[in-house]
């Protein structure tokens, strides 16, 4: 679950006319608020369903969602009620690609922030780490294991993720998301041209039942599957003797398969957020700024790192270039105040 702070249409003169950087200067807070109002109601209803059905699962809440929860504290209360049913995992607080910065200080700061927020707001201590865009490699593995995490979820790749097991690269056990089945549920199930349309819970459960292995990992957006489908799926899986587990239950129940080799994994290979020059440059400038500021990064710098900003620069988006020029203008206004 993630809600970003979306940038606003910014003009350089507004930057010079403001004595200091602020959320209202760079972010479209009234729009963000209105989206949040809708989405938080949805989340609360879904949480109630999870609570009533007792569907075991793991939640990956973003730090920006925590921040937006100030607009509706009811949402936090509804998450709190799920303690014991749901496992809460940690992430970089700002849904950032800071794990790719050369200096890892900013990444560590954000992971700690997120873990602290989980403990302060929800009252849980997380042991599972789910990186932004499921980025995983040996450096991330070492860093998060030093922070005390005992499990990671990352992206499955052909020939690896379709083995339904937990893996262990010698540092930490890793569960690989099954990309095809996850995307079937998240995107393709709404596609009327898809040969498997309509996807019923029994069909989906049957696919899973036919597969070999111990555990299959599905990772998807909270709002992408209907309550009815989830309830049906729970029932259909039960009929086939398939159990729902949280991440930490899965790794403790099954032996991990040792994986001997270097892992460099991420969701969809980051194709949607690091495919063009604008995206590469923006990430590079964030890294450079992070280095200049050292430990002085604030909330705004966090929000400027949201991976969502990189998605919008994707060339399949409606106005990636106008968006990039606008974003660079905002970044430069922020940066000039921090040198």
């Amino acid at each position: 679950m993630h809600q970003p702070f979306r940038l606003r249409w910014f003009w350089p003169h507004e930057g010079y006319e403001s004595d200091s950087a602020s959320l209202d200067l760079y972010f479209d807070q009234s729009f963000n608020h209105s989206v949040f109002e809708e989405i938080s109601e949805l989340y609360i209803r879904s949480n109630r369903m999870i609570h009533d059905t007792g569907i075991a699962c793991t939640f990956n809440l973003s730090g920006t969602l925590f921040d937006q929860s100030m607009w509706n504290p009811e949402l936090i209360r509804s998450f709190k009620k799920l303690r014991g049913v749901v496992e809460f995992a940690s992430s970089p607080y700002y849904n950032s690609l800071s794990p790719l910065f050369e200096e890892k200080g900013e990444f560590l700061r954000q992971v700690r922030m997120h873990r602290d927020a989980l403990s302060d707001l929800i009252g849980v201590r997380s042991t599972t780490f789910i990186n932004t865009e499921l980025i995983h490699n040996s450096i991330v593995a070492r860093l998060v294991s030093e922070l005390g995490f005992s499990t990671v979820v990352s992206e499955g790749v052909f020939g690896l993720g379709d083995h339904c097991s937990a893996f262990d690269d010698g540092v930490l056990p890793v569960l690989f998301r099954h990309p095809v089945l996850s995307c079937d549920l998240e995107f393709r199930s709404h596609d009327t041209l898809w040969c498997e349309y309509p996807l019923t819970a029994s069909k989906f459960a049957e696919w899973i039942a036919q597969m070999e292995g111990n555990v299959l990992t599905l990772y998807l957006d909270y709002g992408s599957v209907s309550h009815e489908f989830l309830e049906d799926l729970l029932h259909e899986l039960g009929l086939r003797g398939i159990e729902l587990l949280t991440v930490s239950e899965a790794v403790s129940r099954f032996d991990s398969v040792f994986y001997d080799g270097a892992l460099h994994l991420s969701r969809l290979n980051l194709k949607h957020c690091l495919s063009n020059h604008m995206q590469h440059l923006y990430l590079h400038e964030l890294g450079r700024l992070s280095q200049i500021m050292g430990a002085g990064g604030d909330e705004i710098f966090g929000y400027l790192q949201q991976a969502d900003i990189l998605f919008e620069m994707g060339e399949e988006k409606p106005y990636p270039f106008d968006y990039a020029v606008n974003t660079f203008s905002i970044l430069s206004d922020y940066a000039r105040r921090r040198v």
């Binding site: 003009w11 020059h277 440059l281 590079h284 400038e285 106008d322 660079f328 203008s329 970044l331 000039r336």
Partner: protein, 398 residues
């Protein structure tokens, strides 16, 4: 018609490199001297050298009767100093001949005239004036602004600086029923204005080699006949100098056309005049009124500022550069100031133009970028980095 006034624009910009923040310092951090040198040498051999040679021959041949005028941008002179001193020398010979008038503009061929304060604009004019003095030992008396950008307040700034005339585009909606072939004065400042006759200019600059055109093939005597039959005191023929050999390749016969032009013009009974001679000889017949928000230029079909400031990307980039002025100046750092001024060159903004349908092809012809979007993103990437440099320096000097 009684007189013909020829004016050529000579310009090469300092093009940006495909920017990535690395260890390079100074001007090379942002500008691509390799591509600039390559382009300069190519255009020099196709256009500047052969055309200068021809113009000098024609001056010799026709003595005082063949007269032309030029404005040469400071960025072009920078490139001559770096790569072709001899070329600069041929412009010096023109200055010495007494048959050529040189005109002032902004050193950096910039959009500074569109800043709300004219201070930076004036500084860049002074800078250009100084390089004319140093390199050509010439003191220009007439002004032309970047791409003929013109409005009342630009004219009054130029009048205050003591110039005798300014050049502008002859546009119907400004002229009304009047003809561009007379001298006018600027509203408010009474500065004499020479207006471009865009039909007779573009017959040479754009249509010369167009086979779809009813005037094709254009010969010097045909053109001289058209000019002679036009009504008025003077036809002002203003164009890019790169017309000769670069926009119109040698194979189109453009050099042959130019070779025969002075003879045909003179034998048709017309005389050549430079801009100062035109305003000395002819009385103004009316007033030209262009509000600051209706600024005109010679670019594209619209002949306004939309070639440089027509879309949001261009407007943002321009605003970024404009607003940096006090900070760049406060650093007192000559190199930062020079880079900032090079970023004001109109060409960078022209590359970002997205008016594809009518004029996009001309824009892309001049651009080293594969698309206006790349040009805008690259410019903004430079802005992010340069802004950091400026504010870092500012912190150091404080």
């Amino acid at each position: 018609m009684r007189s013909v006034c020829f004016y050529f624009q000579v310009h090469q910009p300092h093009r940006l490199r495909w920017f990535w923040p690395d260890d390079r310092v100074g001007i090379d951090r942002y500008f691509d001297s390799h591509i600039n040198e390559k382009t300069f040498r190519k255009v020099a051999s196709k256009c500047y050298r052969p055309t200068n040679r021809l113009i000098l021959e024609l001056i010799d041949e026709h003595r005082d009767k063949f007269r032309v005028s030029y404005s040469i941008t400071g960025t072009f002179i920078d490139q001559c100093r770096d790569w072709d001193r001899d070329l600069l020398e041929t412009f010096s010979q023109m200055a010495d001949s007494g048959s050529v008038e040189f005109i002032d503009e902004t050193y950096h061929h910039s959009l500074a005239s569109l800043f709300p304060s004219k201070d930076e604009f004036v500084e860049q004019i002074h800078e250009h004036n100084a390089v004319m003095r140093d390199e050509l030992h010439y003191k220009p008396k007439v002004f032309r602004n970047t791409e003929l950008l013109y409005n009342n307040s630009i004219a009054s700034t130029i009048a205050d600086l003591g110039y005798k005339a300014i050049l502008a585009e002859g546009i119907e909606h400004v002229l009304g029923a009047r003809s561009a072939n007379y001298v006018y004065t600027a509203k408010g400042s009474n500065l004499p204005i020479l207006l471009r006759n865009y039909r007779l200019s573009d017959d040479i600059a754009y249509r010369f080699s167009s086979q779809w055109w009813s005037g094709y093939p254009l010969t010097a005597d045909k053109w001289a006949h058209w000019a002679k039959s036009a009504e008025g005191d003077v036809v002002n023929i203003f164009m890019d100098y790169e017309t000769f050999g670069e926009h119109q390749w040698e194979s189109t016969g453009i050099f042959e056309f130019l070779r025969h032009l002075p003879g045909e013009v003179l034998s048709s009974g017309l005389e050549f005049k430079t801009p100062s001679e035109v305003v000395a000889k002819y009385q103004p017949v009316g007033e030209i009124d262009v509000f600051d928000l209706s600024t005109i230029s010679w670019a594209d079909m619209e002949r306004d500022t939309s070639a440089w400031l027509g879309n949001y990307m261009q407007q943002r980039c321009f605003e970024e550069i404009k607003l940096l002025e006090p900070y760049v100046k406060e650093t007192g750092d000559a190199e930062l100031l020079r880079i900032w001024r090079c970023l004001q060159t109109s060409d960078h903004y022209y590359y970002m133009c997205t008016k594809w349908l009518a004029d996009g092809d001309v824009h892309s012809y001049f651009s080293i970028h594969s698309s206006p979007f790349d040009a805008a993103v690259n410019f903004m990437a430079v802005v992010v980095d340069f802004k950091l440099m400026v504010f870092k320096r500012l912190k150091e000097v404080k």
